[in-house]
Symmetry: C2
């Protein structure tokens, strides 16, 4: 019975951890950004007492880093699905898949900048190691799936995926300005015009980069 109970409790704990991730994601979507996520809002939505989160995550930053880790797996899955059965996809097609799949994960797009600017420094080294290890594994699978399905080489694909991550991190933030800047854009719409055009901009630049990588990183095929 005890073994059974322990298993049951482990299952419950895993479920609660998932519930908290889902709650954090919902709060970020509802409030318009990770910057507005609070522990109070997350626990309330998950139906837990505010202090209950500590059993699952040592801090808000650990919870958000876990959400980013889940985002990497979701992006990998979406890209694998989009390339399934594909072969000899053009660089432009690969760029389009990268842009479509990453922009479908809005909270992940938002998290990318927070991970680099603060989350990775606000958790301890071992948690960071687990994040990097899992994110790298998902990244490598995503790269391999794209490379297999396309005419691009591994080194070109890696460069294009790195560009996708770097551009998404910046362009998502530019397109989702914090309150003061959002108020300014209301007054001066021409300043916000380009910045707010997130997905079309990302897609166009990635397509251009994908085409050009064929010249600056020539393949031997």
């Amino acid at each position: 019975v005890r073994v059974h109970e322990r298993a049951r409790s482990a299952e419950d704990k895993a479920q609660r951890s998932e519930d908290l991730l889902a709650a954090a994601e919902a709060v970020a979507l509802e409030r318009g950004g990770i910057r507005f996520v609070t522990v109070a809002a997350v626990t309330e939505r998950a139906g837990l007492h505010r202090t209950g989160v500590r059993r699952y995550y040592a801090s808000k930053e650990e919870l958000l880093l876990e959400l980013a880790e889940r985002g990497w797996r979701q992006w990998r899955d979406a890209a694998k699905k989009a390339t399934e059965g594909g072969s000899e996809l053009s660089p432009v097609a690969v760029a389009t898949i990268l842009a479509e799949t990453i922009t479908s994960l809005s909270v992940f797009c938002d998290l990318l900048a927070h991970v680099a600017m603060s989350l990775e420094d606000e958790v301890d080294l071992e948690r960071d190691r687990r994040y990097k290890s899992n994110a790298t594994a998902a990244h490598d699978e995503l790269v391999n799936a794209l490379e297999r399905a396309s005419v691009m080489t591994l080194i070109q694909t890696r460069a294009l995926v790195a560009t996708t991550v770097a551009l998404t991190a910046s362009l998502w933030q530019a397109a989702h300005p914090a309150p003061t800047l959002a108020a300014l854009y209301e007054q001066e719409p021409e300043w916000g015009h380009d910045a707010l055009d997130f997905e079309p901009r990302l897609t166009l630049i990635l397509q251009a980069t994908a085409i050009g990588l064929g010249e600056v990183l020539p393949s031997e095929r």
Copy 2:
């Protein structure tokens, strides 16, 4: 006499403001990043009492936003100088100039992510308006100088400059990890390898993007 005194005092004030900017830049360079800049370190270096900064900047965030504004002017000047007398520069040459000039301004590269993630929201709307107005003016001059000196169209040049800013903001941060991540990279060098290679990566991706923009944004020339 009074007019003279007032002029002298205005001159002194402008000089002190400049001294504080130079001090903030020096502290950022010395400590390895904007994230380590404190008001205490800046005022000490500028030879002012800690509270003295308030006469010139309402907050650390205002001081740093001013530093970013100065960075835009410095980047514009560097790009104008690099294109002086140039004509019919290739897209790859323009990309190389953009990468060389922006990476020569290390503190500006660092500031780009801080501006977007926090500084623009931590000052008031009017200060934000002044920042956007001055940054946009410098940006437009930079774009025009590159367009005039190259075979690229205005729309291609604007897209390439936007890509430079977005990539630089992300890649600089990735290449200058905060302490926890830096410690992890010491233990697992393969994770840091690509990230730390800032200037070569930025240059290569921008060259690829510049080439590809000719195809995705065809010119009518």
